[in-house]
Point group: C2
Chain length 103, copies 2
């Protein structure tokens, strides 16, 4: 993942699943989230553990999109919409979206 430049957007979401930490249900959810990487335009995709004691989130997703058009295409993609409706909304207890662009 190179330093952010031009129109690139780093889209991140810190989140906490509803599932018991370390459970199979949690692992299944993370595996489903990992498949977002296949959506066209998604770059530098990572699923990460959140480890700061300054917040209560347990995981994060980080990805980069080439520009605003690629971001909107990702947001509207059927696989993303379905994932949000069928998995994210029922299985995530708390989350925070943070998007970064170059200064």
């Amino acid at each position: 993942m190179a330093e952010l430049a031009g129109d690139r957007i780093r889209h991140t979401v810190a989140f906490t699943p509803t599932h018991t930490p370390g459970s199979e249900a949690e692992a299944d959810f993370l595996a489903a989230a990992a498949r977002l990487e296949n959506i066209p335009g998604v770059e530098a995709f990572e699923i990460l553990r959140e480890t700061s004691p300054k917040n209560a989130y347990r995981f994060g997703i980080s990805m980069e999109l080439a520009d605003r058009a690629a971001y909107e295409s990702y947001n509207g993609h059927p696989d993303h919409v379905r994932f949000v409706q069928e998995r994210w909304l029922p299985e995530v207890a708390d989350f925070l979206e943070i998007d970064y662009e170059p200064c």
Copy 2:
């Protein structure tokens, strides 16, 4: 910035300065924050604009440290301690620390 692996830690802070957006005081604060890059162990350093409407933060700092020891060394470095006391605490209205490590 390569994908996070091993003991690496990505340390990020989303924040909003007290200063009027676009003011010289804000620019001066961001310039001071940018000098954190010179602290030994700091890698992949970025100052970024926060652009998601889902939160109120205006900027972010992102950096990577090789491992927990490098992170603690950074946290305790006199330049970091001085920056926090003399600039961060008086000049930041709100902030959120989010740290990521590989799954």
